[in-house]
């Protein structure tokens, strides 16, 4: 897997999250897409229809296996059962990429090991970085391939001890990539959601500028995939908060950040994620086409030929 900046305008680099209501239609229509993304955990079965349909799709598309349950940041480590299921799936599907999140969910509760089934934030501490690196290394050793690790939408921020001054999130992730050789999966919508929530919590600064600065702090060479999705602003008696629900079109501010990311990182495989209130397949394809146009424009603007023509 190459994670270096590259510009290949002729190829389709954009994919969509492929969810159950679109299984059949996509296989019938087979639109031009760079890849399909599925959640790894939905295909941990020994056999059956879901796995069969994924194997069918794999005959026509590269597949990106995106996990939501490895709990890479857990002090209690990665569940050996989970890792064994993932290894078997990777062997079956031969995915183009394997990813999960810089988060935790697994831990002790009432005497047993449990899993909160969510993407819970890690403190940006050296201690958390050490744990995350060790778990990522373990998974990479087992899968015999680099992992991509994604930044979260986080709704809580940890205090860190005075002696363990917090890293910035991009620094934390860049260190993770440097120490483990993993790539980063940059979710542009998550950046923006976090920046919006910082603003709503009273932090100074403009969310777009904060998110751009975040992108500028990430080394371009380690970015292996970009995620784009919609979010919702929820207002109720307890206040206002941006929620990363993957339930709508990508907003204008996130498209602008994506343009900035393309200029910084070059052409990167990009995913349109949509998980709640799933629309018609054509809506996803339309969003993917939009991302592809922006990618092609960025690639054309960066190519030496267009530079000469513009001169």
């Amino acid at each position: 897997m190459s994670v270096h900046p590259r510009h290949r305008s002729a190829t389709v680099s954009t994919g969509i999250g492929w969810r159950q209501p679109h299984y059949r239609e996509l296989l019938e229509r087979r639109p031009a897409l760079g890849f399909l993304e599925v959640h790894s955990e939905n295909f941990f079965a020994d056999g059956g229809a879901a796995l069969a349909v994924l194997e069918q799709a794999r005959a026509h598309y590269p597949v990106s296996l995106h996990g939501v349950g490895l709990s890479l940041g857990s002090v209690d480590g990665v569940d050996p059962w989970h890792l064994a299921q993932l290894e078997r799936l990777v062997q079956r599907i031969d995915p183009v990429r394997v990813s999960d999140h810089a988060s935790f969910a697994r831990g002790r509760w009432q005497g047993g090991t449990h899993h909160a089934a969510d993407l819970l934030p890690l403190p940006l501490s050296r201690e958390a970085l050490d744990v995350l690196c060790a778990n990522v290394q373990q998974v990479q050793d087992r899968l015999q391939r680099p992992l991509l690790v994604e930044n979260l939408s986080a709704y809580l921020r940890w205090h860190t001890a005075p002696e363990d001054a917090p890293l910035t999130e991009p620094h934390f992730l860049a260190e993770l990539a440097r120490r483990t050789g993993c790539a980063l999966l940059v979710d542009v919508n998550n950046l923006y959601v976090n920046a919006r929530n910082a603003e709503l919590a009273g932090a100074p600064g403009n969310p777009r500028a904060l998110a751009r600065a975040w992108l500028d702090e990430i080394p371009a060479s380690v970015v292996g995939e970009i995620h784009l999705a919609g979010h919702t602003l929820v207002r109720d008696a307890q206040g206002e908060i941006a929620v990363d629900d993957h339930g709508s079109r990508v907003c204008d501010a996130v498209w602008q950040l994506y343009r900035h990311a393309l200029a910084r990182f070059g052409t990167v495989p990009t995913l349109i994620e949509w998980d709640t209130d799933l629309p018609a397949l054509d809506v996803l394809l339309d969003e993917a086409a939009h991302a592809q146009r922006m990618t092609d424009e960025a690639a054309a603007a960066a190519s030496p030929l267009s530079t000469r023509l513009a001169a």
Binding site: A45, G67, W109, A116, A117, D118, I241
Partner: protein, 266 residues
């Protein structure tokens, strides 16, 4: 306990089990203000996920209880027995026992068996694939049944119930029988033994034929075909065999020493 372990414990304690003010306050000391709205997002996520995951495994229970009661059930089950794995398809196996212990549901005593049957269907959908070997049926003509066994479909499971559990579930799946007939069988106190198996990739369920449960149980216990047939005098084997082949229940006829696939759900 390291600082990171304390931090992770504080957030898990605030999200797993019944949310308590003490757990929220313990978390409050570890996170930046404002935190209440953020914690609420995580709690709402887990509520929605619990409901969605259980509804996917138990669609007939959703219909029997109604959306609101089912949602409350999912929330109570999450609080009592949160997931143990990061694959939500693994969560919910013990829902039948949880229902059986719920005092408010004692007037619906068939619900636990409906849950057991739906879980068997869910597991069946995910069982390892098998390739039918129709050529192997020839062994039934050529070889001694005392040295043969039948290889049964993936996910093959028997569930004996004091309630008409198959009728209740299939009435909701396909209206076969219609709901009125299923309700009559329930009032009449009719028990059914359900058979779950996979026809190709499709999970199936039906009530067993007379003698069929005895045959399948004996095969499952490792008996030869001859010994299993001894246990199943009520079974019309000559009619059963082509039906079992056509519906995918019978995958192959093998020499006796090979492993058996059929399981018993309860």
């Amino acid at each position: 306990m390291s600082r990171l372990a304390q931090q992770q414990q504080a957030l898990l304690d605030a999200l797993l089990g019944s949310p308590t003010e003490a757990a929220a306050q313990a978390l409050a000391g570890a996170v930046a203000t404002p935190w209440a709205r953020g914690l609420q997002v995580y709690r709402a996520n887990s509520r929605a996920l619990a409901q969605r995951a259980l509804a996917a495994a138990y669609p007939v229970l959703v219909q029997l209880l109604g959306e609101d009661s089912f949602s409350a059930l999912a929330q109570a089950f999450w609080q009592a027995q949160p997931p143990r794995r990061g694959d939500m398809n693994q969560w919910g196996e013990t829902l039948a026992d949880f229902l059986a212990g719920d005092a408010q549901l004692q007037d619906l005593p068939y619900l636990p068996d409906v849950a057991r049957l739906e879980w068997a269907l869910q597991r069946c959908a995910q069982a390892a694939d098998a390739t039918a070997e129709p050529a192997s049926y020839q062994r039934l003509m050529d070889e001694d049944p005392a040295r043969l066994t039948l290889v049964l479909a993936p996910g093959c499971t028997l569930l004996a119930s004091a309630w008409p559990v198959t009728s209740i579930v299939t009435a909701h799946h396909t209206e076969q029988p219609d709901l009125g007939t299923a309700a009559e069988r329930l009032r009449a106190g009719l028990g059914e033994t359900a058979l779950v198996w996979r026809e190709g990739l499709r999970p199936r369920v039906r009530a067993v034929w007379p003698g069929e449960a005895a045959l399948l149980s004996a095969l499952q216990a490792g008996a030869s075909l001859a010994a299993a047939l001894e246990m199943a005098h009520a079974l019309d084997f000559a009619a059963w065999l082509p039906m079992a082949g056509q519906t995918g229940l019978l995958v192959a006829v093998h020499p006796l020493h090979e492993p058996q696939a059929c399981q018993r759900a309860s």
